[in-house]
């Protein structure tokens, strides 16, 4: 909201610089985003009067002006067309700071000869003064402007750009802000004096008002002004509207806007002649009712919306905007002026639904006081008499079904200590509150505080509201800084938080770069992770009101974001890529909030190592991915195995489920070539995925076993078997012998002397007993048994 400091100063007597006011307001909770000072650079520029206009001897379009400055005279050369003897102008002497109209840069006025004539200073245009873009002619001041006074005293100003919080509708007005400044700077505040004579028949004989839906309209007040003359409003009033950023329309409309800005109470003027039956009815709109609002648009209304109607039709959307059918036009002579109070939530709903965030709507939806209706109504009536040449009917209409007596807030003074951690002296409490218009007493005996908020402070209801006011006016810097003294509460840390941190650190240690990507994605990005671009079943969680199709769904997999990341980064570099994300996926649940498990997803792509001076590097393969998974699971003390998987996004020949107990923890494999194709990835992608919450129950306790005291014996065996037999099957056999404490596969061989359809696996077996040293014979005996079992169960034989 833009507010002129000059305007404020009409109601509050302060001479503090604008920046100081801006700072006080900001530090009291009414944020001044910025302050535009008009005339801050006008040192030396004063009001002058043109006493003579002479032709320039050498130029037709230039004139020589004699300027009276009160205590001296100056001659200047001027190029403006609007010069006239007697005109009051802004005179800038040599050395003044002005805006160069050609490049909009600030410049210092230098002594100059223009076409052979010395100009001692300059008569300024609005653009040169930095007020507006107008450079058509020089600025002409009102005829009653005193000569010789600094220009800044006449038209200087500061415009505050304010951000008013939703709890302070009273500060969406000049008077409200002036009251605030008065309280903050301890300066005198005065409200405008409103007095006018009522000269025509009683209003009650000329119009009726009926409130049918009092729940949405606690109060409706109106006055009637006849014989008005529609015309432009005076310049001072137009200037006020312009300073706020509103455009003047005509005297009547401008007055309603002016008083709204001044008091914060939206008003509406109807053309009295257009009110059918001379009766106002405040009611809910009918279900199929329509109205064309003042902006010319037809609005479809609903039963939830309130309208102002006459006997036949709606004439305004209550609290939002008037209707075209009762608009004040140039031929209007009688004004029915409305000043009413509407239910805030209803106005908010209507404004939001009709998408009409009007100035009236912004004020009503924040809950202004019903007691504001009368002062604003009377002020506008007065101005319509003064500026619109009108005559007021006697009396006003005031229908007030929603009157609520506001009770004072009572609390113990010790609450200040309990809430703020500090105390205030009684006089500081009382001064702060009285300055804001409260009535306040502190009982000496009971130390009880009784504070009655002024009517315009609809936000004050409970003790903390009053406590905040006292803290605010005294400044939050008066509150001390202390450390929490209470005992630290019992904490029940979520094991997932720590687990995720461990996994992230582990992945980074393995050389994976973490990415964090949006959870809102397009449906396309989710279906691209299947070979045949199948729509997921069930469909992922959809947003009703997405900003775009790109962010319409909550992701149900991380695969898409990682593959997209590969696609993006491979275009920048041919280095190998290892990426992971550990984040949520969102799985729909019928009738409830979705499940949001955390998932680790990682991808490997391209070179194992970047190009190096000792030769080219290999490309990553399935066993790089598997090694990472095995390392991670080992680090977490999870005993897992790799088993068959039917994950459709993975290559049917190279994919595995990661299983612990009978639960699947995740998958690992080569990305299906069709999916790689969807992301334009021409190298093989290896991918793994772990469901983080699923890991938790399988994380084993760390256990200490003493280091074996007796020496181990190591034997290597090479086994020949059918190519279809897996390493896992062989390991299961070894597992049956407790004295084999360690098995490592050190060779896999096919071809050569190995018959077709067979393969050779070579293992190093470690035999060790916790209780004694084996003899060679004992070892050979056990190994015979192992071989026997291998042969009988898997058909594996020792290599000849």
């Amino acid at each position: 909201m833009k507010v002129s400091y000059n305007w404020l100063k009409q109601y509050v007597e302060t001479t503090l610089p604008a920046v100081e006011i801006a700072d006080r307001l900001t530090m009291a909770g009414i944020e001044v985003k910025n302050t535009q000072v008009i005339g801050g650079d006008w040192q030396g520029i004063i009001v002058g009067q043109i006493t003579a206009v002479n032709r320039h001897p050498n130029a037709d379009r230039l004139t020589l002006l004699d300027i009276e400055l009160g205590n001296r005279k100056e001659n200047v050369v001027c190029g403006a067309p609007n010069v006239a003897v007697g005109a009051k102008i802004a005179y800038a002497p040599i050395g003044s700071k002005l805006i160069d109209p050609h490049n909009n840069q600030p410049t210092v006025l230098k002594p100059a000869k223009i076409r052979g004539v010395v100009s001692s200073g300059m008569a300024c245009s609005e653009k040169e003064l930095g007020i507006s873009e107008n450079h058509e002619g020089i600025l002409i001041l009102p005829p009653d402007t005193p000569i010789g006074v600094p220009l800044v005293d006449i038209i200087g100003d500061a415009i505050f750009n304010l951000e008013v919080t939703p709890n302070r509708p009273d500060c969406l007005s000049i008077i409200g802000l002036a009251r605030e400044i008065s309280a903050l700077t301890d300066s005198i505040f005065h409200e405008p004096e409103v007095r006018y004579s009522e000269t025509t028949n009683p209003i009650k004989s000329q119009v009726t008002v009926e409130i049918q839906d009092a729940d949405l309209c606690p109060r409706y007040c109106a006055s009637l002004i006849t014989s008005v003359k529609i015309g432009p409003s005076p310049e001072w009033l137009q200037k006020r509207l312009l300073s706020y950023g509103m455009h003047p329309i005509n005297n009547i409309v401008d007055i309603t806007n002016f008083v709204m800005l001044e008091y914060g109470q939206p008003l509406h003027s109807f053309d009295y002649e257009k009110i059918t039956g001379k009766g106002i009815i405040v009611r809910r709109a009918r279900s199929d009712e329509k109205i064309t609002s003042l902006d010319g648009l037809e609005r479809q209304l609903t039963r939830e919306m309130l309208v102002i109607a006459d006997k036949e039709r709606a004439v305004a959307v209550a609290g939002i905007m008037g209707g075209a059918n009762s608009e004040v036009t140039n031929s209007t002579t009688s004004i029915l002026l409305e000043s009413a109070s509407f239910k805030a939530t209803s106005i908010h709903y209507t404004g939001r639904t009709l998408n009409m965030p009007s100035e009236a709507c912004i004020r009503f939806e924040r809950g202004i006081s019903p007691d504001l209706t009368i002062p604003a109504l009377k002020r506008a009536t007065q101005l319509m008499i003064e500026l619109g040449n009108g005559q007021a009917a006697s009396g006003i209409i005031d229908v007030y079904p929603g009157k609520i007596a506001r009770k004072p807030v009572r609390f113990a003074k010790s609450e200040f200590q309990r809430v703020l951690g500090t105390e205030y002296r009684d006089d500081r409490i009382i001064n702060a509150l009285v300055g804001l218009g409260f009535e306040c007493q502190i009982d000496v005996l009971t130390q009880g505080v009784v504070a009655k908020a002024p009517y315009w402070r609809t936000d004050i209801n409970i003790p903390v509201d009053v406590i905040e006011e006292v803290a605010r006016i005294n400044g939050y810097e008066t509150i001390p800084t202390t450390l929490l003294a209470q005992e630290i509460p019992a904490r029940h840390p979520n094991p997932l938080t720590g687990l995720k941190r461990r996994i992230r650190n582990h992945m980074v240690g393995y050389g994976f770069q973490e990415i964090v990507s949006y959870s809102l994605v397009s449906l396309e990005s989710l279906i691209k992770v299947t070979p045949e671009k199948k729509k997921p079943e069930p469909l992922p969680v959809r947003i009703v009101n997405p900003t775009s199709a790109e962010q319409e769904y909550l992701r149900n997999t991380l695969r898409g974001v990682l593959l997209s990341a590969l696609q993006l980064n491979k275009s920048y570099s041919d280095d190998g890529l290892q990426l992971f994300e550990l984040g949520k996926v969102y799985l729909p649940k019928e009738g409830d909030l979705p499940d949001e498990p955390d998932v680790l997803c990682g991808v490997l792509y391209g070179k194992r190592h970047n190009r190096w001076w000792q030769g080219e590097s290999d490309k990553v393969d399935f066993f790089d991915a598997k090694g990472v998974m095995e390392g991670l699971l080992n680090h977490l003390n999870i005993a897992a195995r790799f088993d068959k998987s039917n994950d459709p996004s993975l290559h049917p020949h190279t994919r595995a489920a990661i299983i612990a107990g009978d639960k699947q923890l995740g998958v690992i494999g080569e990305l299906h070539p069709a999916v790689a194709g969807h992301f334009e990835l021409n190298e093989t992608v290896y991918i793994f995925e772990l469901n983080i919450p699923a890991l938790l129950p399988h994380i084993g306790q760390k256990e200490y076993k003493p280091i074996a005291r007796f020496p181990a014996t190591i034997r290597d065996i090479a086994l020949v078997m059918d190519a279809a037999i897996t390493n896992q099957q062989v390991l299961e056999i070894f597992k049956g012998f407790s004295l084999i404490t360690q098995v490592s596969l050190f060779d896999v061989y096919v071809g050569g002397q190995i018959p077709a359809g067979k393969k050779q696996l070579a293992y190093r077996l470690t035999y060790q007993s916790p209780t004694r040293t084996f003899t060679d014979e004992e070892i050979s005996k056990i190994q015979q048994q192992v071989l026997k079992k291998l042969t009988s169960e898997l058909g594996a034989t020792l290599r000849a």
């Binding site: 209803s346 800084t481 929490l484 979520n494 050389g511 990415i515 959809r542 009101n545 997209s564 949001e596």
Partner: protein
Amino acid sequence: MIQRLEELKQTALKELEAINDLSNLETWRVRYLGRKSELTRMLRGLAELPIEERKTAGALGNTIRNTFESVLALKIEVLKTSSIQQVTTKDTASAARQDITLPGRPFPYGKLHPITETIEEICDIFSSMGFAVLESNDTELDYFNFEALNMPAEHPARDNMSTFWLDYENERGERKMLLRTHNTCVSARMVAKLKPPIRTIAPGWVYRYEATDATHLTMFHHVDGIAVDKGITMADLKGVFFEFASQFYGEGRRVRFRPDYFPFVEPGVEVAVECVVCHGSGCRLCGNSGWIELGGAGMTHPKVLERGGIDPNVYTSFAFGFGIDRMPMLKYGIDDIRLFFNSDLRFLKQF
């Protein structure tokens, strides 16, 4: 015999002197001190000598043996030292030296995402002040996101938090599930779920229906916290932020509290920290104010506590919340928030 011993001594010591490497030394040891050495043989044969000679020869033989052992030990030491010296000094030509500026074997390296690092740092600081770190759903009920926080339907404060709604309708045909617009909903859940004393913080994604540009996204990160106990005051809230700012931004960093409004706190506060660049004197980064807005806070509104079943006449509470993404932006001078989330390694590998 004695003469033979003397001769043996002379020869052996002379030979030893000439030896230059450790393997020849071993040969020497076998020859003169080994089980089959002449000295050993002679000492073994002492028994055959007459008693007088046996005594003298025995003593001499043992002395020689001791001499051999000690000079051998000395020689080993000398040779070891000189061989290390040789290895490290021999051939100082550059070709024999490693070019230690050649790149090392390239292990792939990865880094944590800067937002992850920031969240971890924030959580660690609040943990050190006794706050438990919680995580909750990104999807939330209208009740916890708004109503429990004093923002009933059609409250104007909802306009500052334009909401994404999930495509779910309840049995009454209402849409009541949404993407949380702040993490204060987690605090609301904690107030409803836990008994005081409570001290929790919750980091995570939040969502707002907003136009995207270099400083605004439809989804970004927030951390919100709450403390509930007897005797908690706004002075304590100041203390918590003072401590946080000292730990996160550096010792002695000033913190400014300014009145502000959030429906779920009263009094409400906007918290600002002394600008990281100009230290309060005013610069481009802080818009010449000297302060950088950190977030919002205040004393939890009595109605919010009441709704969670906590008696506001017995307990007091403060709550706070602030955006996370802006912190590394300020720290590193990043001018576009979108860089964090588009997975470009040219950006991410810098942290």
